[in-house]
Symmetry: C2
Subunit: 205 residues, 2 copies
């Protein structure tokens, strides 16, 4: 491996790194972290972790629990939504881990993260498109059902082809129901995906 | 910030880190990297970068280009598919950056990565479910069209309600076409998402 100092400078030069003390105050920020969040390093050094989170997360029980675990020495890795300068949404793939002194006492928490804002936004847009198309499918199912009802009415009025119309109406209603069920299933899956991406719970601020 | 040595040991202890020389030989692997790939550190030190990739990627022009850029000092960040021990698929959110000596000469490449195998697999499964449901929607559209054709035939045979049947058949065919178009749109979006997640191109080995 490279000498420690060369390696360390490469890491801090090329990765978005931020450290916090046990009071959650920011104690260090790499250039790339500052750039990712849109703040200067000087600004960041006056801030706390909560200043980079949307209020819905900060005010939740999860937030207290999150820090309780970190300060107990636990690690954490996930995609998270954070608040950049001007309330800009920043999606980070983040890894939190404890910093310890030589006596193994916890002195703070380090966060190394990758900026996933662009790719996550594209992904959310694509999934949103599926949601939109699914709405269209739902509308078509609705229209198919109306057509089925009208056909059934015609069947009642009709004499000669009453049976034929009735069969068509019944089949159509079934198909309409099946399409509608599918659109519901897709919607549910879309919600699951958004939930997996952690873009729902903390979305508001 | 913490003292350099404390910080460095925290980084290598808690992150999956691997370094390569300019010949792409592995020169260092952290415990977590070894664990993520399923190899021992000793095994890894006898391996090259290509041994951790599926052959479809290694044999592609992208692979040559990828290393050409890294050795020119460029950084790279993306979700990648890698090959763990026993050909296990490992999804990594990876960040590659150059290592340099004091004279700023490039001595190798460092890769810091987070294991995304579990969450990516879940995501791919969910997206696959959307694909499945969409197949169902496509089949329903097909059945609706058959029903429309049969209704049109009945309209020809019928005397009294010929007009009513024709209108129903025409409407049904339109709805069937609309549903089918929607299922095609969803499928296309699903393919786009899989492409964004980098799970298509390098999928085979």
């Amino acid at each position: 491996m490279e000498t420690s100092s060369d390696f360390l400078s490469s890491v801090t030069e090329n990765l978005a790194v931020v450290t916090f003390d046990t009071k959650t105050n920011i104690t260090y920020a790499s250039d790339l972290f500052a750039q990712t969040m849109g703040y200067s390093k000087e600004e960041l050094l006056k801030m706390q972790h909560r200043d980079l989170c949307f209020s819905s997360f900060v005010n939740s029980a999860s937030y207290t629990e999150f820090w309780k675990r970190l300060l107990a020495g636990q690690t954490f890795q996930d995609q998270v939504l954070r608040k950049g300068k001007g309330n800009k949404k920043v999606y980070l793939e983040a890894n939190y881990f404890p910093l310890r002194d030589e006596a193994h006492n916890l002195t703070g928490v380090c966060k190394v993260c990758f900026d996933k804002t662009k790719s996550t936004s594209t992904l959310i847009k694509s999934i949103g498109e599926i949601g939109q198309i699914t709405n269209t499918v739902h509308e078509i199912a609705y229209n198919t059902n109306i057509l089925a009802v009208n056909t059934a009415l015609q069947a009642v009025r009709s004499s000669e082809n009453s049976n034929g119309f009735s069969v068509v109406a019944k089949e159509m209603r079934k198909l309409s129901k099946d399409v509608d069920q599918s659109s519901k299933d897709i919607r549910e899956t879309v919600q699951n995906i958004l939930h997996q991406l952690n873009v729902i719970d903390q979305d508001a601020y």
